[in-house]
């Protein structure tokens, strides 16, 4: 692969942003970060990423969801792969393999949900499988 895959990482917690940026960059991904949904929207317009990792609860309890739903309704971004992140796993159905990774159903605005703290290797494996799959 000549072109590096671009990951857009969105989370209001700077420690999370820094930690995962370091891990992802060391695996050869180009990482852009945003702290809010608004920032993320701007970055999306500037350069379309290959994968977006999106925290759910930021400045509001559902900011990540809201953004993800809006993107799904926008024909330009409908196919953008989104991985949701949450520190707060309440009522998510267990359908996927593994302990902290969940494959979501159709009514969700994303296909994957990771529970924080995220296991680095697992996250990378998921990202790679997404990119290869396209």
């Amino acid at each position: 692969m000549d072109k590096k895959a671009v990951i857009l990482l969105v989370d209001d917690d700077p420690d999370i942003l820094d930690s995962y940026r370091i891990i992802l960059e060391s695996h050869g991904f180009e990482v852009r970060t945003a702290k809010t949904g608004k920032e993320a929207a701007l970055l999306l317009k500037a350069h379309r990423p290959d994968v977006m990792i999106l925290d759910i609860m930021m400045t509001t309890d559902t900011e990540g969801f809201d953004l993800a739903y809006r993107l799904k309704e926008d024909p330009d971004y409908r196919n953008l792969p989104i991985i949701l992140l949450t520190a707060f796993l309440e009522k998510v159905r267990r359908e996927g393999p593994g302990e902290f990774e969940y494959i979501l159903g159709e009514q969700w605005p994303a296909d994957w949900l990771f529970e924080k703290p995220v296991d680095g290797p697992r996250l990378i494996a998921r990202i790679e499988s997404i990119i290869e799959g396209r």
Partner: protein
């Protein structure tokens, strides 16, 4: 045609009366043989007895009219079943004919000296008991008249048999009938008098019975209202049930509940059943401006059978359009406070008597208790909801920094920031363990607090053991294989659904199995059995792990408790898993037993009730 089936449908009193008017029809057939019997010895002895022809004449007439009556009865006797007056008239006419026949018989058998005079007593007693006073006295007059007539005819000389009396004097004739007449008059007077007394007694008894039945009915209704009210939890439900049930029980048009505000200054309509729609329009009645309401709140019931415009105004102007004439208001007492006013409204004037006031008073006490209960329940629920929301926020706010910590640790320990020496690596490993333990604790505390508030236990759900087994197997198969532990799950055939939702029972099993896997060394075995037993579902989780020291078994289900041998096997442990298990088992109404031997293994046996067909009572009570 009158049939036996007709008689069955009549009331027992009617039936008795019918028998009373038809029995004589049958009895009269016996007259002829009796007369014959009577005359025969006379004939034999004196050779002079009553001339048989003259006996035969009245006998024949009796036969005739009896036959006619019988015919009429066969044709139109149905009328007798419903119509009491018809029955009386039937008896009356029979008695008239009997009187005539008997009078003729007396004339033909010696006039005032006739032995048959005494026979008049028979119809007299019959119609005295069967007919009302007016008819009885009419017939009495008829009979007395007949007797007097007989006396006169005798005086003129024409009685049979001639020669038997040999011309008695007027005085003799008079005395001959005076006694019977006096006796007959006495019978009728006395009879109707006693009847009158008996009827009045019966009527009084009936009225008492009626009033007791009413009280009984009201108590029954009160009981069913109590049950309806007792099963409603929310304040609005209780209010609605109270007002509608009491309107039904009291059989009034409307019932209202006014509640006093906390400062005691205002009354607002909390509920109104059967009254105009705009009645409970957010109106607050200021107690100070309404002396009537104030008096009621002070403890004085207000009852009126003719409510005036002025009074209606104090209770709500809209009432006048509802044609309310009678109202009854009672204070709602709770311990020493008055919390409101219960009101009943009726369209009839003078509807409420003392009995109603007393009954309503009973009811109002009940209502006050029900209302307080609903309020308390609502307050508790609100507190509970607030607590849960608080716990959720706390958990989230604890998780976020923990997640950040662990992410930072992952970066650092992963060497992404540069290589670590062995001491750095070891200390960071310890840091990581403690942080993960804290995270697990936060999760489990959240679960425990939800269970404790009874919010989580859903007793209406039912768990299919097959689905449960499938999910559990899928969850743990890989983990067990990864640790080289033999994992077996067996499910008995045709196991009935277990009471409780799938999520809850799954969590129960997962906590137990994950414990078993955690504390069983590689090469060991963890077995799960789902089977029926003692009318319940039995879940058995056994392992060949480190076991539980006997001294610590009693503390096993305490929060944060970790057995002494557990820590050496696995550093991370919250000590909450079994506490959660116990909460779930208790919440579902089951039992849990533990058998264990150190270094050999443990068996946890859980008994859970099976799901029932009907709806469950409210879980919050449990």
């Amino acid at each position: 045609m009158v049939r036996a089936s007709h008689l069955k449908s009549a009331s027992s009193a009617a039936r008795e009366q019918i028998v009373g008017c038809t029995a004589p029809l049958r009895a009269r057939w016996w007259i002829v043989p009796l007369l014959g019997l009577f005359s025969y010895p006379g004939l034999r002895e004196t050779g002079n007895g009553f001339p048989s022809f003259w006996l035969a004449l009245p006998a024949g007439c009796i036969f005739l009219y009896n036959g006619l009556f019988l015919l009429w009865f066969r044709r139109s006797g149905e009328r007798l079943i419903e119509d009491a007056d018809c029955r009386k008239r039937f008896i009356f006419f029979q008695a008239v004919f009997d009187t005539a026949a008997l009078s003729a018989l007396c004339l033909l058998t010696g006039g005032t000296a006739s032995p048959f005079i005494i026979v008049f007593a028979v119809p007299i007693v019959w119609f005295t008991t069967a007919l009302n006073a007016r008819m009885a006295f009419t017939l009495l007059a008829l009979i007395v008249g007949a007797l007097i007539g007989i006396a006169f005819i005798e005086k003129t000389g024409w009685v049979l048999p001639q020669g038997l009396n040999g011309g008695r004097s007027a005085f003799q004739i008079f005395t001959a009938i005076a006694l019977p007449v006096a006796a007959f008059v006495a019978i009728v007077f006395f009879g109707t008098f006693i009847k009158g007394i008996a009827h009045r007694e019966i009527d009084a008894c009936d009225r008492r019975l009626e009033s007791e039945e009413r009280v009984n009915q009201r108590l029954q209704s009160l009981l069913s209202s109590l049950q309806a009210i007792g099963s409603a939890r929310k304040l609005e439900e209780v209010l609605h049930t109270v007002t509608s049930e009491f309107a039904r029980v009291m059989q009034v048009k409307g019932v209202s509940v006014k509640l006093l505000s906390d400062d005691g200054a205002g009354l607002h309509y909390a509920a109104a059943f059967g009254l105009p729609d705009n009645f409970t329009d957010e109106k607050i009645v200021e107690v100070v401006k309404s002396p009537l309401n104030k008096r009621i709140l002070d403890g004085e019931p207000f009852v009126t059978g003719q409510v005036t415009e002025g009074e209606l105004f104090q209770f709500g102007e809209a009432l006048s359009s509802a044609y309310i004439r009678s109202v009854l208001f009672l204070p709602l007492h709770l311990k020493s406070r008055v919390i409101g006013i219960l009101g009943a409204y009726a369209e009839e004037a003078n509807r409420f008597n003392q009995e109603d006031v007393d009954f309503f008073g009973l009811a109002s006490r009940m209502v006050a208790i029900a209302l307080e209960n609903a309020r308390a329940y609502g307050a508790i629920k609100k507190l509970n909801d607030e607590r849960i929301r608080f716990m959720l926020r706390v958990t989230h706010n604890l998780r976020a920094p923990l997640a950040a910590m662990l992410s930072i640790l992952e970066v650092t320990r992963g060497g992404y920031l540069g290589p670590l020496n062995s001491s750095q690596a070891e200390y960071l490993r310890r840091l990581d363990r403690r942080a993960r333990t804290m995270l697990a604790m936060v999760n489990e505390l959240m679960t425990l607090s939800k269970r404790r508030s009874h919010e989580g236990i859903d007793l209406d759900g039912a768990t299919d053991p097959v689905a449960l087994a499938r999910r559990v197997r899928r969850t743990f198969q890989d983990e067990a294989a990864g640790k080289n532990i033999l994992f077996n799950l067996s499910l008995a055939e045709n196991l009935a659904p277990i009471r409780g939702s799938l999520e809850v029972i799954e969590q129960l099993l997962e906590n137990l199995i994950s414990n078993a896997l955690k504390y069983t060394p590689a090469g060991g075995k963890v077995t799960v059995n789902l089977k029926p037993g003692a009318g319940m579902a039995v879940i058995e989780v056994s392992d060949t792990g480190i076991g539980i020291p006997p001294a610590e078994k009693s503390k096993l289900f305490t929060e944060f408790f970790r057995a002494s041998n557990a820590k050496s096997v696995e550093e991370i442990g919250t000590g909450l898993g079994l506490a959660i298990v116990k909460e779930i088992v208790d919440g579902l109404g089951g039992r849990i037993l533990v058998e264990s031997e150190e270094k050999m293994g443990s068996v946890f046996v859980i008994y859970l009730p099976l799901a029932r067909a009907g709806p469950e009572p409210d879980a919050a009570a449990g």
